[in-house]
Structures are given as C-alpha cells and as structure tokens.
C-alpha cells in the first residue's frame, strides 16, 4: 500500500507573510490515484499550500514535487502535471469562455482538432456549452467556478487541485460537481480538494489531512479518522423541550448532553459505554421518549474535537 507512487510530495514547506507564519514546516505526501481532502478552519494555510504547488506562492524554504518534478527547478513538467482551480473567482474582460480555453491550451502547447474537441467536451461536461461565447462577466458565480474547472483541465493534468470548488454553489450543481470529480478520479486523476463541507470530504475523500495554523494536525484515511473518534451520538426525541430543564437530568447524562434542539436532546456517548447503561439512565430520569436514534460521529464532529475550531 505504502509503495504506491507519489503524486505530490511536500517536504518541510515553510512560508511567512511578513510576521505571519502561514505554513510551518509542512511535510506529507499524496499518493497517485488518491482522492485527498485538505481540511481546516479559515486561515489555516490550505490555499497557501495549494498555491505553492503551482508557484503562485513561493515558499521560504522546503520542496514540493508534483509527479516527481520539483515545482521550482522543473516547473514546466510540474505545471504540466498540475491543474489548479483557485478559490477566488477569476474573470477576464476580453475573451469568451471558449477563447479563454483555447488560449490556455496554447500556453501548454496544445492545439489542433483533438484539443478543440476536448474543449468542447469540457464545455458540455461542465454544462457551459450554451455559454461558450459569453464573456466571464456575463456568468453567475457558479458558472465562473465551472469555467475555472475547465481551465484547469485543458491539459488533462495528472493531479487536479480544487480549492473549495463547491463554495457558494447550489445543491444541484454540487451534486453534479461531485459526480464529475468522482469520474475524473475513476479515470485516473489524483484529486486534492479543500472544502468547508465536511460531508463533502466524507463522501468523496479516501484520505484527509486536517490543517490548523499552518501545520498538519492529522492525516489519515477518512475511515480510520472516523473510527478513531471514540464517540457515538444518541438523539432522543421528546414531545417538547420547552419546559425541559437540564437540571432534571441525572449527572451522568447531564455531562454527556452535547446539544439541545427544539424537541430533541443530543448526547455524546463514549463507544466503550454499554448502550444498556445509557438506556437505564434515560429510563431512570423518566423522560417521555418518543424516538431514539444512534449514529457514529461525522467528520465535522471529529474535526471539532481535533481542532477546537469551527469550520
């Protein structure tokens, strides 16, 4: 498993913006064929790390290799292997979407009928075909996002990096983008994704890294990370909680109360604790239980535990 070839390698990457340490000695690797999630609160350094892969950010020290190419010394090969969808929406006041894609292909030395056919395919796949002749200024935010994805794919890069591709995107389009990303992944692309929607990372990524304050706090298979979290959540539905007083709970339950909803209580229960015991406590407190559901922790809850920060 560990002998899989490496797609991207970060070695002791450090970056300061004046006095702010945006990246602090970041080292890890992403295997080829992986669908990798990079998570972390605002300002954690995710975009800085991603932009360093394409040299939009130049690290103070450390090395990055993309498909074995040093992004500084062999920048041409490294950039041919990399497609980057930036977090900020970018526009161009002069060129239509199709022309932008043709121009971008040209930068990579790509032209001719096959390339034009690929551009048309991208336009269709990203539901931009009817906007091919429009200027970026005439597009909605979600459409601009898709243009950026198409731009990153003109040269069919081995590694595709998506910096919050679904921020500000409606549910429908999010599903479409997920499907598209999965398809690219199946077709052999290595995908690195940052997102603030943890359900997205949970649904798509086989491995996730959690960043905070410029450092990697955790890096594991998504399944392992979830499993390592030794809690499960028990949701107790009550007729109504308006008159409910947390002081009425026995102390064992009171300390495990994670959240109070309109007509439900959410308890965070150690996995080591027998469910029978919990049920006994509930019964003992005489709660008028309407329904009970138990589930494992979500990535979001694991994340909160690890970073203490809200996404």
């Amino acid at each position: 498993m560990n002998s899989d070839p490496v797609a991207v390698q970060f070695e002791s990457v450090t970056k300061c913006f004046s006095r702010l340490q945006a990246l602090n000695n970041v080292s890890f690797e992403v295997k080829q064929g992986s669908f990798f999630g990079l998570l972390g609160p605002n300002g954690a350094g995710k975009s800085t790390l991603i932009n360093a892969m394409s040299s939009l950010v130049v690290p103070d020290s450390g090395q990055i290799h993309v498909m074995g190419h040093d992004v500084q010394k062999n920048y041409r090969q490294a950039r041919r292997a990399l497609g980057l969808v930036p977090q900020e929406l970018i526009s161009d006041p002069f060129f239509s979407i199709r022309d932008l894609l043709i121009v971008q292909s040209g930068y990579f030395g790509l032209r001719g009928r096959a390339q034009l056919a690929w551009i048309d395919e991208l336009l269709v796949r990203l539901a931009l075909a009817d906007k091919a002749d429009a200027l970026t200024a005439q597009l909605s935010g979600g459409m601009k996002r898709r243009v950026l994805i198409a731009m990153a794919l003109v040269h069919k890069p081995a590694v595709l990096v998506l910096d919050e591709p679904t921020a500000g995107v409606d549910v429908d389009l999010r599903r479409t983008l997920w499907a598209f990303a999965r398809e690219l992944h199946t077709a052999g692309h290595t995908i690195i994704l940052t997102t603030h929607y943890l359900e997205e990372a949970e649904a798509l990524c086989d491995k996730v890294a959690i960043m905070q304050k410029g450092e990697i706090k955790a890096l594991e298979k998504t399944q392992d990370l979830l499993a390592r979290h030794p809690y499960r959540y028990l949701r107790v539905t009550l007729p109504e909680t308006g008159s409910f007083n947390p002081q009425d709970l026995s102390p064992e339950l009171a300390i495990r109360l994670a959240e109070r909803e309109a007509n439900a209580l959410l308890f965070k229960i150690e996995k080591s604790l027998a469910m029978e015991q919990v049920l006994a406590w509930l019964q003992q407190d005489g709660l008028n239980i309407q329904d009970l559901t138990s589930r494992d922790a979500s990535l979001e809850e694991v994340f909160l535990d690890l970073t203490g920060a809200q996404l």
């Binding site: 394409s54 040299s55 920048y75 970018i90 526009s91 006041p93 002069f94 040209g106 930068y107 030395g109």
Partner: protein, 253 residues
C-alpha cells in the same frame, strides 16, 4: 523553450488590444494628429528646426515616435495591471511559460501596438506633408528598438504598481514629461546650453533623434550614439524585467 506557449500568449496580447482598438489604436492616432494640426499650422512658418525642412516636416517623425513610445508603454503596463486586478494573470502563471517567454510576448505585443499607432500617424503625415525617406532601415530599427524598450519599461511599471493610481503617476510624472522634453517639438540645438545638456540625460531624446535621422539624414547627435544609448537602455530594462519575473516580484507571493 515553449515557443508555442509564448506565441499563444503573444497572440492573446494582440487580441486584447485589438478587441478595443478604437481606444488603443485609433484614439491615440487622432490625438497625436491634433498636435500636428495645431503646432504644424501655427508654427510652420515661424520655426526652422533643421536646415531646409519645414517645421511640420521636422515635427512628424517626432510625433510618430512620441505616439509609438507612449502606446508601447501603455500596452504592456495596462495589460499586466489589468490581469493582476482581474486575477487572470494566474492563468499564465500556472502554465509552463518561462519568465523569458513571458517577457518576449509582452514586449512583442507592445511593439506591434506601438508600430500600429506610429504607422497611423505616419500615414497621415506622409499623405499630407512632404516626408523624405533617407533610410527605411534606420527608421524601422529605431521604431522597433524604442517600442521594445518602452514595452519593457511599461512591464516594469505594471509589475511594481499595485493599483491604477500608481501606474497613472508613473505615466504622468515620468513618461509624459520625458517624452515632451525629448526634442519631439524642437531641435535641442535651439535650446539654451543648460537645457541642451539636460536633454542629453533624457533617453527619449536619442530615440527621437535617431528616428528622425532615418527620414532626413540630419540629427542633433550622431545616429550611432543614439543607437548605442537606446541599446544600453533596452538591455538594462530587459535584465530588470527578467529579474522581476524570475523572482515573481508582486506577481507571485
């Protein structure tokens, strides 16, 4: 070299100014011709700049050069600052185009725009006035080198400027005065000694003087001196640009 990438970027730069050619080519031609109309009419009979030439004949190459310099400058400077503002500079920055290729494409497009505007002015001058063509070779050489130099200067200005204000300041306090005081409108031999000496420190003077030599075989200083100085500046500007682009000053973080 990624020649096709460089070519693609050059073509994109051309397409950019061509798509707004009323503003980038036609307008500067017209405003330069206004100078010709006004100064030429008013001063034609009163001033003798070079022996045997009317003032208008003297003026036209200067105006052509002025328009060419200003437009070469403004092509690369406005292109790069606009792409920084819109963020689309990163499209080319993430591509396998080298700093040298980037420089060649920017300067190439600036030359094309400079020549296009210069030709526009020149055509009218040629039709309306009695231009002489002593040496097309010198004319072209100075036109191309000067446009390249100013394209390079514009690139530096665009790179270091963080907003349009900075660029406008550069243009108004540096480019404009230097072009106006470069002997476009007069022969520096008609100036008092102090101003004559000062003009010698103005690089634009040599470009205008050498360019005019190509038409009339007359100049204030030797055409070889003008060529040498223009080349020295062009090489310096090229070196500065390559350093800025390799380091990614103000375009990579």
């Amino acid at each position: 070299m990624n020649w096709y990438g460089c070519w693609a970027f050059f073509k994109k730069e051309i397409a950019r100014f061509y798509s707004v050619s009323v503003q980038t080519v036609f307008a500067p031609v017209v405003s330069t011709l206004l100078f010709l109309l006004i100064f030429g009419q008013v001063l034609d009979t009163r001033l003798d700049a070079f022996s045997g030439l009317s003032y208008s004949q003297f003026l036209i190459p200067g105006l052509v050069m002025m328009a060419l310099l200003q437009n070469a400058f403004s092509n690369s400077s406005s292109s790069i600052i606009q792409s920084k503002m819109y963020g689309n500079l990163s499209f080319v920055l993430v591509s396998p185009i080298s700093p040298l290729e980037l420089y060649i494409a920017f300067v190439g497009a600036a030359i094309v725009r400079g020549l296009a505007v210069g030709m526009g002015v020149l055509l009218v001058g040629w039709v309306g006035f009695d231009l002489q063509w002593y040496s097309v070779g010198w004319v072209l050489l100075f036109a191309v080198l000067s446009a390249a130099l100013m394209g390079g200067v514009g690139l530096i200005a665009g790179i270091v400027s963080e907003k349009y204000d900075h660029l406008a300041a550069f243009q108004n306090f540096f480019i404009m005065p230097l072009t106006f005081l470069s002997g476009v409108f007069y022969s520096i031999q008609s100036l008092p000694p102090f101003w004559q000496t000062l003009s010698m420190f103005n690089p634009f003077f040599y470009m205008v003087d050498g360019f005019r030599y190509g038409f009339y075989a007359q100049s204030d200083v030797s055409v070889y001196l003008s060529l040498f100085i223009t080349l020295v500046f062009l090489v310096s500007v090229t070196v500065i640009n390559l350093i800025l682009l390799v380091k990614g000053v103000k375009i990579r973080h």
